[in-house]
Symmetry: C4
Amino acid sequence: MEELKKQVYEANMLLPKYGLVTFTWGNVSGIDREKELFVIKPSGIAYEDLKPEDMVVMSLDGKKIEGEYNPSSDTETHRILYQRFPNVGGIVHTHSAWATSWAQAGRGIPCYGTTHADYFYKEIPCVRNLDAKEIEEAYEKNTGVLIADEFEKKGRDYEACPATLCKNHGVFSWGKDAMEALHNAVVIEEVAKMAARTEMINPKVIEAPQVLQDKHYFRKHGANAYYGQTKKVEE
Amino acid sequence: MEELKKQVYEANMLLPKYGLVTFTWGNVSGIDREKELFVIKPSGIAYEDLKPEDMVVMSLDGKKIEGEYNPSSDTETHRILYQRFPNVGGIVHTHSAWATSWAQAGRGIPCYGTTHADYFYKEIPCVRNLDAKEIEEAYEKNTGVLIADEFEKKGRDYEACPATLCKNHGVFSWGKDAMEALHNAVVIEEVAKMAARTEMINPKVIEAPQVLQDKHYFRKHGANAYYGQTKKVEE
Amino acid sequence: MEELKKQVYEANMLLPKYGLVTFTWGNVSGIDREKELFVIKPSGIAYEDLKPEDMVVMSLDGKKIEGEYNPSSDTETHRILYQRFPNVGGIVHTHSAWATSWAQAGRGIPCYGTTHADYFYKEIPCVRNLDAKEIEEAYEKNTGVLIADEFEKKGRDYEACPATLCKNHGVFSWGKDAMEALHNAVVIEEVAKMAARTEMINPKVIEAPQVLQDKHYFRKHGANAYYGQTKKVEE
Amino acid sequence: MEELKKQVYEANMLLPKYGLVTFTWGNVSGIDREKELFVIKPSGIAYEDLKPEDMVVMSLDGKKIEGEYNPSSDTETHRILYQRFPNVGGIVHTHSAWATSWAQAGRGIPCYGTTHADYFYKEIPCVRNLDAKEIEEAYEKNTGVLIADEFEKKGRDYEACPATLCKNHGVFSWGKDAMEALHNAVVIEEVAKMAARTEMINPKVIEAPQVLQDKHYFRKHGANAYYGQTKKVEE
């Protein structure tokens, strides 16, 4: 558990390093699937003051197990995503500027090239706004429910597309652990930036050919991957 | 008073750190409401040469009380805002690039998402140009008068929307003290950047649903706030 | 002369510091009006290798007086500008990205706000391309001739507008010495960036009211200036 | 060979320094034409962990000669370019953000100014997508074949235009050695950025006059070059 707190702390500290957050606008969590406990950043604490021991430990049914501070206000979203996405080991939430601009625009990010296809299979979706009832009832929890429901409804594989935009809000990304989720948060920001500029340069642009998307995705993922130093799935 | 000078000095030094100013294009002030004295940056002094003791002390009726240098040329605007906005403890003026681009465009910043709603309730307004008579008579003073008049006329709560754009000019932000005003100056620049990109990505975009704006604003502000580590209003 | 070489060297070294140049794409010069000698950066030497003693000394009639290296390939443009603009003490040439984008677009930079008006009176012009004959005959020299001719023809005061764009090329700025010219090069890049974004945010935007432009320009320049710490013209 | 490995290592390390790569998204190689061996970055190794001895040595017919790791997954593209472009001594591949946005937009970069013309003669082309058969057969190899074929077919001189975009993918640049190829990778990113902004500022812009393009290209390249400190071709 101390090891997990340290990893989650380090992934949180990389958010400002990679330029993904202003002030306290982001959080990273990681889960220990055996113990069914996840570790998350405390709410509203400045990154420069953050210490590994400030991380909050939560149970999968939503109880605070350990920690001096309140957990991130987005904790319920993380919790639901861990419940609904069983192979996810880490989750990141940010308001990173380019990805959030797509979220504010209410559009998913089309796959315009291999940088996208190397990490995300097909469009990165943008889920709808919660309605008034869903917001009043349980805003953060229902955000998680909505993401998982939309992935199911649209037949999207959360492992092949490890991120989503939330309309008028920001980004959630995930991965096999906190560091991979952080890695994917960096990638989505870069991909969001290039997609916006791509449309600026060519307003009539269409998505990359599916055969090229497949080539790049499967050269890095799955049984026949050959990118990197092993044959296993890696980034 | 020495404490206030130090805080105002430090908030001024954060302007270049956060990328909000080029050369001397910005200033921060803070007020001691009991003594009715405010402290402001001297005019045209480079940030690298600035020292806490260079800060100028002004009275609320516009007399220089202490300080070797002339106060910022925008001092009269600060003074009027302190008079008209009694709960304001600190004020920041910048020409930060994205927010100033909205000001030059003559448009208020629509609320496209929760990053905005977390800090500013509804649109951040852009006040009109002063007319020739107002400029000739007392340019800086009338800038303050105009801001306060427009907030009143439009029924805007200066505490719920702690910033304004001035057409063809730049930004004023405020807060309970100099540091919170500085904090809001950082946020408006980030929000201005994302709003411009949002419209670039979706030219037909509309504002975030009011119910979502309310949720985010009131989760951080007011009696039922639950963001951060206390129940009190905090950022 | 050693003093001038040192100042020109230092102004050159600020080009990469302010993000105005990539590789060797820029140069600063300064003149000693009494001796009628100007000092300029050598051609094609990387900034990290530059030393004060590498600066080249040129006479106003175009002869190399001192220096191991060839002077900047743009030396003839600097020389003509010193001849034609007698109150100029320093000149900067860059391909800074935003200003050069306006130059490539073939447009002068409209005055959209007070940041512009604080330094440049009215639009910053973009001079036309040289024609084939002018290029073949003496490209760099004729660039200087063209700038001075266009300022004359359009009745522009080179002291009130201390910079120009050259179509499909880049920027020249000037000032009372090398440091002021450098300062103006920083300002034009910032102003160019904000003007482009202003048009992106409001494609129908018009220039700032003349009365506001006047107010800001004359609050910093001329007999009645009151910005900064003296009554004299200063930045 | 150790010297070459060191140079290729250093050029690789400059990719993140110049902001051209995120994570491991780029690679540099250099060739020893006498030995017909080229040195390339290993696949998927983080830049902060990279050491000169990690560089992989490959033969021009595609065999790994030396090195602990797998070579870059793009090695076959480099290999074919070395075969087809006999005067090339170094190659760089990146997904640098602005250039890749042009590639994703499927457009070559028009020559809008002298910054472009100083390094690239005429438009920087964007080669078409490979078709399904070419991708399945040998994706990376056929990328190299396509680039060389398109340069031939369009009568483009690979020495006068030392870079290309690959549609929906990224950038390849080259030069007389790894460092010059890296230099050209920096230039194309800067040129791509300014070209996009140029079109934003003036949607009806046309390319720079050919006579101006010629002047700048030939002032730096070829028998009559006079930029820099020698008469020889140099950057």
